[in-house]
């Protein structure tokens, strides 16, 4: 492993962290449920990048690839379930405003 690898790692981590913060911004400020899901997706992207970088830097790309594939499968299932929940909410309220989701309090 060379020094280049180390720089590459640092730069990637910086970008991944920036991506995570972008996603967090999206989750925190969005009013639309679908947009919140998109934010979650962006966060997963950043995580995927981190996993790949981890495999690349440590020379375990095969392991990292298998992780990423597993991760993607799980991601799809979660998004499908989340979409189901969003559509279910829409059926009840005809609206997707996160701020109106406040019947549970306390």
């Amino acid at each position: 492993m060379s020094g280049d690898m180390s720089t590459f790692f640092s730069i990637s981590v910086i970008f991944a962290v920036l991506m995570v913060f972008t996603a967090l911004y999206c989750i925190l400020t969005s009013r639309n449920l679908i947009r919140i899901l998109i934010g979650l997706e962006l966060m997963t992207k950043a995580v995927t990048l981190l996993l790949a970088v981890g495999g690349y830097v440590s020379g375990r790309m095969a392991l990292a690839q298998s992780f990423i594939i597993t991760l993607i499968v799980i991601e799809v299932v979660i998004i499908a379930v989340a979409a189901g929940i969003v559509i279910g909410t829409y059926r009840h309220t005809n609206d997707l405003d996160a701020r109106k989701l406040n019947s549970l309090k306390g």
Binding site: V13, K45, I87
Partner: protein, 175 residues
């Protein structure tokens, strides 16, 4: 060569981030979903460069393809946002942009407060196995997990998408 590789990577990473930011900032949901797909594509290219072609293919087909389809169909199943509302939203969103630089600054500060570089990177021997081997032999336990979660997802779709609108409305009226 390494120089080029790094430059290429940094460029792509910047594009990746830019696509993500665009996804967040655009006001129309549909474009946002497409932005997500673009981000996925950027990630795919990055994965290819990092010699992870299979993962890249998965990313491309599933994330850029399937998930975008799911999002777009969800968006089309729900109410389209009207023009005036979009404008209103845009104005409100503009106000909230104040936070974004703050967040980015915070992120940068977190990152540079303690430089994140590997102190002793030569510790780990490089493995010599192929993806197939790892996926099928070393990580078979995870495959069981994948089967389980896919089954769960199937049941989720059965339970959640069951169109019993009548029942749902009845419950609403009871409230």
């Amino acid at each position: 060569m390494t120089f080029d590789f790094n430059m290429m990577n940094i460029f792509l990473l910047a594009l990746f981030l830019a696509a993500g930011v665009w996804t967040v900032l655009t006001s129309r949901l549909l474009i946002s979903a497409i932005g997500l797909a673009v981000t996925s594509i950027m990630l795919t290219i990055l994965l290819f460069l990092m010699k992870a072609p299979l993962a890249g293919v998965f990313e491309l087909s599933v994330c850029a393809g399937l998930i975008t389809v799911v999002f777009i169909s969800t968006i089309s199943l729900t109410k389209p946002v009207e023009k005036s509302e979009v404008l209103q939203l845009k104005m409100k969103r503009l106000k909230r942009f104040v936070f974004l630089p703050l967040l980015l600054f915070l992120a940068a500060w977190v990152l540079f407060a303690k430089p994140l570089h590997l102190t002793n990177p030569a510790q780990v021997p490089v493995e010599q196995t192929t993806l197939q081997h790892v996926l099928w032999f070393a990580r078979r336990f995870d495959l069981i997990g994948q089967i389980l979660i896919i089954l769960t997802g199937v049941f989720g779709v059965i339970v959640l998408f069951k169109t019993k609108t009548g029942q749902a409305e009845k419950q609403d009226n009871e409230r």
